[in-house]
Symmetry: C2
Subunit: 298 residues, 2 copies
């Protein structure tokens, strides 16, 4: 295979049509330049230049190869520049995981921030529950996770990404739905409550349990579910009441009434960003820096 040096040599000679001048342009002397061209021609087994002692002219093959040579050289330079951009986080790819619930609250803002911080980055989104996000993070399949706070492994770092409130989701016609004014935790005593799975949706499970324990209130946990969607579907069918993150109320389910609930903590649901301590994706670095900067301002 020919070398890039041979290509630059050839392009210089083809443009100058003069070995000595081309050599000067390449900051070398004429003899090695002649040899570079010879090597290239031998390598290709094609004569690229017709040269006599008085004139240098491109052959048709040389003319064709000149175009190719220029393209290869340009692409090489572009590749060098592009890879440097990627390495400093000005371009590249970032894989972001998110939970279904977070999609309704924080994800939009996060994507906007990403596009602001790294306009030329390609964003790959993957929906997965928080637990899977952590696994994907350690296995380098994800650069950033947006999910519920949880045990972060030793290699992972996290930071809060925002909080939101809980709303009661009540079937149309339910006694609590008819009553005016906000609900209290005590109102859930004895109610059929659609509960989050202690494994798949551990964060919400523990959150609700702690709320009810603190208020010494005991709903009936009729079903354990992992997805907010499923819970709302059952509420809509009248199978019970539920507590869901505020943002999901935007979903406008049929036959569901959302009502505020008075809680000891007004916005008890947390979202957090998780990433590897040992971050090897510069795009992530740029994004995190941007986030802390803009957060600092507001």
């Amino acid at each position: 295979m020919f070398t890039l040096t041979q290509l630059t040599s050839f392009v210089a000679v083809a443009e100058e049509l003069h070995f000595t001048r081309a050599a000067a342009r390449l900051k070398m002397t004429q003899p090695p330049l002649s040899r570079q061209i010879q090597l290239l021609e031998n390598e290709l087994r094609v004569q690229l230049l017709d040269r006599t002692n008085r004139s240098v002219r491109l052959t048709p093959a040389g003319r064709a190869f000149l175009t190719e040579a220029r393209r290869i050289l340009r692409q090489s330079e572009d590749a060098a520049l592009a890879v440097r951009q990627v390495s400093v986080g000005e371009a590249g790819t970032i894989a972001i995981g998110f939970t279904a619930a977070s999609a309704h609250s924080m994800l939009g803002a996060l994507l906007e921030a990403t596009r602001e911080a790294v306009p030329r980055a390609e964003i790959v989104l993957r929906e997965m529950v928080t637990r899977d996000q952590l696994e994907a993070l350690t296995e380098h399949r994800l650069d950033l996770g947006l999910g519920r706070p949880s045990m972060t492994g030793p290699d992972l770092t996290s930071r809060p990404a925002g909080r939101e409130g809980l709303l009661a989701a009540l079937p149309l016609g339910h006694a609590l739905a008819e009553r005016p004014g906000p609900l209290s935790v005590a109102d859930f005593d004895g109610q059929q409550l659609l509960m989050y799975s202690p494994t798949e949706a551990r964060y919400f499970n523990e959150l609700l349990i702690s709320i009810f324990n603190a208020a010494r209130v005991a709903p009936v946990f009729s079903q354990y579910l992992s997805q907010v969607h499923s819970i709302l579907a059952l509420v809509s069918s009248g199978l019970g009441v539920a507590l869901v993150p505020e943002a999901t109320a935007r979903l406008r389910y049929a036959d569901i009434v959302f009502k505020p609930v008075e809680l000891p903590t007004p916005e008890p649901v947390e979202l957090s960003l998780v990433w590897r301590k040992n971050n090897d994706n510069p795009v992530l670095g740029t994004l995190l820096e941007h986030l802390s900067r803009t957060r600092g301002e507001s």
Copy 2:
């Protein structure tokens, strides 16, 4: 700038994710391969591979660069193949000059033959009078000319490309136009004849003069013109009669009647192909070979 060797080294390592195996694939030992990667990384000032003693992994920058590296290598191979095709005349560009008149007779067949002989060649067509074609040929601006036979310089070769007849072009209502049957050369005696320029259209000028001299006939040369188009335009305006190549009769001018003329030589108008003896365009070589082969068959 990095070298192509470094790119192939990097691609091999990136695909194997294992230096020793990659080295084996490249038919070299592991140490120099390690150094090639180091050189590439230093050159780019970017870390492409995360390597510990137990694992090799691409960094995001490395992933981005892998794509670029593969493309550059593929293009280099393609360029080598393409230039070889051009050099043996299987592809490339051929510049063909033609006279306006020849466009109506032989040019179509010539183009068809070119496409048959070298399907992948790009054909550049330039209309110019024969004299300009010869100049363009010696200056390498043209590979092949299709025009009237003429003095070919010492560097040029030519061969006949076909012959055709002459037709009388007569204004509608002209005495000769009304008369039934073919004309004879003698009929032109004393006629206002639109004549070809002795410089710009020397071939036709000399052809007609020799025909009239041989028949001892003397028309009146009212105008000297270089283009058949111009002559026909004047005939159409009733300014005289003319003798034009058969093929141009296809042009269907308004108010012109074409009639055959009895000549000593039935098809006195010759066309010829001209090219440089010292032909440096392989496409032309392939085309000429194809022409003599098919001509040989027919």
